[in-house]
């Protein structure tokens, strides 16, 4: 057995050798190409053992949250078509996200274990309780919508009570919705995955903007133009926040921002930016055209899904390459800024 080539063993393949910390090139603030050492190029942190169902869960959670907010607003301002799309959209999205979560866990009974404890240090536990708080109200409002679509003779008795509860349940659902959209950013950021953790300041804004864009997009898709005004405003505002926050995030997250531009994640992110921008422009231009509004709505939803996929994939890629773990930490140590408790 021939001993392996030492140079290759100690340096990560594909990383050009340049002195650590040597100058910053170009007009963009980019981290220099890093020379670093690793153990045969193997990862240091482990990538989350999650599949795409978690990215889908992030997307459907966002659509559900935004939709229940739009539905409550539409209910209060007498826009029945928008209310219907919002409530049904929230119900379907919640069901899909629960499906994705249970699929990831493997079996439904495992979800029950999540309700054993309430732990503030675990964003997943916090998220479970946020969903447990929001879900029943959103579902009750959606049920009221379904009952309202039934023949009048079925709307008596217990089902009739639902009709009365629809509005208050919808309002509570809307007030508990924003944490549903925001907590998923903390869920990703509270990991050792370099691209997720380093984005913790902006990721909630990216995700909430993306949720608003997607749910507004759904509103545009399903509502006639005379009632779609708020969905349009919500979608365009969300898209603007998402694009701005995403740009800012890339500038602040250091070397792991690279992973948002490379490989699969890069393709998702480029598609996300194109679809979100096109959707926002189309939504603004399509005030009087149902067809253009629908196309824009679909583009905004697709853009939001691409954002989730892109951020998800970037995190996995950043965990698999030891460069994104070692280089920022090594630079910190070399600068003498090792993280230490300041008593």
């Amino acid at each position: 057995m021939r001993p392996p080539d030492t140079a290759q063993a100690h340096h990560h393949g594909g990383s050009p050798s340049r002195a650590r910390g040597s100058g910053r090139g170009g007009d963009r603030v980019m981290v220099p190409e890093a020379d670093f050492t690793s153990y045969y190029g193997r990862p240091i942190v482990k990538p989350a053992p999650w599949e795409h169902d978690i990215a889908i869960y992030l997307f459907t959670g966002g659509v559900a949250a935004g939709s229940s907010m739009l539905a409550a607003g539409a209910d209060l301002t007498d826009r029945p078509a928008l209310r219907r799309v919002g409530r049904l959209g929230s119900l379907v999205s919640l069901a899909l996200s629960m499906g994705a979560l249970v699929h990831d866990l493997g079996k439904p009974s495992r979800f029950i274990n999540m309700l054993r404890v309430a732990k503030l240090t675990s964003p997943m536990s916090v998220g479970t309780w946020i969903l447990a708080l929001h879900g029943p109200f959103a579902a009750a409002a959606s049920a009221a919508e379904v009952v309202g679509m039934l023949p009048a003779r079925w709307q008596r008795g217990p089902l009739g009570i639902l009709l009365v509860l629809g509005r208050p349940a919808g309002i509570v659902g809307a007030l508990t919705a924003p944490p549903v959209a925001a907590y998923t950013a903390v869920l990703l950021a509270d990991t050792a995955t370099p691209a997720w953790h380093s984005a913790f300041r902006e990721l909630p804004f990216v995700f909430c903007g993306s949720a608003a864009a997607a749910s507004g997009g759904l509103g545009l898709l399903g509502t006639p133009v005379d009632q779609a005004g708020p969905a349009r405003a919500f979608a365009v505002g969300g898209a603007a926040v998402e694009l701005a926050a995403e740009r800012r995030m890339e500038q602040s997250m250091g070397i792991s921002a690279e992973t948002l531009h490379q490989g699969t994640a890069g393709r998702w992110m480029r598609a996300s930016i194109a679809l979100t921008a096109a959707g926002a422009v189309g939504a603004l231009a399509g005030r009087r055209s149902r067809a253009l509004s629908m196309a824009s709505g679909a583009a905004l939803m697709a853009g939001s899904l691409c954002t989730r996929m892109g951020v998800f994939e970037a995190g996995i890629a950043s965990a698999k390459d030891p460069k994104y773990t070692v280089v920022p930490q090594r630079e910190r140590v070399d600068r003498g800024e090792q993280v230490r408790y300041q008593g």
Binding site: Y39, I44, A48, L76, F200, V333
Partner: protein, 307 residues
């Protein structure tokens, strides 16, 4: 109990977790300068804890084919070929007036000898003072033992995998195989032989280590021994010797498993400056709260304009 140092900073983990009259914190001191890479620790760990065989594959990079710490590998011996800056001088043999044993002194000139040396190091779960895996577990499956260690209860774990992504050392993992193993899909890692500790015994790896590279004991005492050992090596001119994980003011509040290394941590596959991710949790929740409030305000604003 929530204290000032609950998320970050030095503390004694077992009393912090609510144990009254907890025994002294237990841990490992792995002195890699005396590790011979025999892998007895890996085998003893598998035998005692009934950890099934890993997916063994000839990796072709070194003699290390057990790959990494994972759900089926709670101790992992790293084999590193290190470029030696100068060949180590061969000490002059001392005649004891006894019949000679072993190889004759080599007549190969020092500069013709291979210019590399082996570094070997047995890696294990660090049992952090601030354990990210424990902090993020949504089911309470991971818990802090009375010995200050971190243990998984695999009948409660729901396999969400959050601890896997949270560990800054890449230790804990969800078990993938072998087929039919009841713990497939469940997070697994070193328990510091919780069952043996409860019975007043050493962990299996420390028991099996033939060179005392793996020392087990009270963390305070091990830290002292580690300091003495590194001072001794420095005295002998081995200036590369350094301690890892022994500092209670570091990013994870110090670890229960500390190491004496002969090179930078990343050479061994260890992060140079690991930080518990929950250190930033208050800031994360603050930012999420801001974003959520902005979203609600945005939704309200969307409805302001009359049709």
């Amino acid at each position: 109990m929530i204290g000032r140092n609950s998320l970050f900073g030095p503390l004694d983990p077992a009393p912090d977790a609510g144990y009254v009259d907890a025994p002294a914190r237990k841990g490992f001191f792995t002195d890699t300068s005396v590790c011979i890479g025999c892998k007895a620790c890996e085998v003893a760990c598998k035998e005692w804890n009934d950890v099934p065989e890993n997916a063994f594959a000839m990796l072709g990079t070194s003699y290390d084919n057990s790959h990494s710490l994972n759900a089926n590998q709670w101790r992992h011996v790293a084999f590193i070929e290190k470029q030696a800056p100068t060949p180590a001088p061969t000490p002059e043999p001392v005649s004891l007036g006894m019949p000679s044993v072993g190889a004759q002194p080599s007549d190969v000139a020092d500069e013709e000898k291979p210019d590399f040396q082996w570094l070997m190091s047995s890696d294990v779960c660090k049992h952090c003072t601030h354990a990210a895996c424990l902090d993020v577990c949504p089911t309470g499956s991971l818990f802090r033992s009375e010995f200050g260690t971190v243990v998984v209860q695999d009948d409660i774990c729901n396999g969400c995998g959050y601890c896997v992504a949270a560990c800054p050392y890449g230790v804990i993992d969800r078990r993938r195989g072998p087929e039919g193993d009841p713990k497939v899909g469940i997070a697994q890692k070193c328990t510091l032989c919780y069952d043996r500790l409860s019975d007043g015994q050493k962990p299996a790896c420390a028991q099996a280590c033939p060179t005392e590279s793996i020392l087990y004991g009270d963390v305070d005492e091990l830290r002292q021994r580690a300091d003495e050992r590194v001072a001794l090596l420095h005295e002998r001119g081995i200036m590369d010797a350094r301690l890892y994980g022994n500092d209670p003011d570091d990013g994870v509040g110090g670890t229960g498993a500390m190491f004496l290394l002969l090179d930078e941590p990343e050479v061994y596959g260890l992060p140079p400056d690991p930080v518990v991710t929950t250190k930033d949790l208050p800031a994360m929740f603050n930012r999420a709260g801001m974003a959520a409030t902005a979203m609600l305000a945005g939704a309200a604003l969307s409805f302001l304009r009359r049709r």
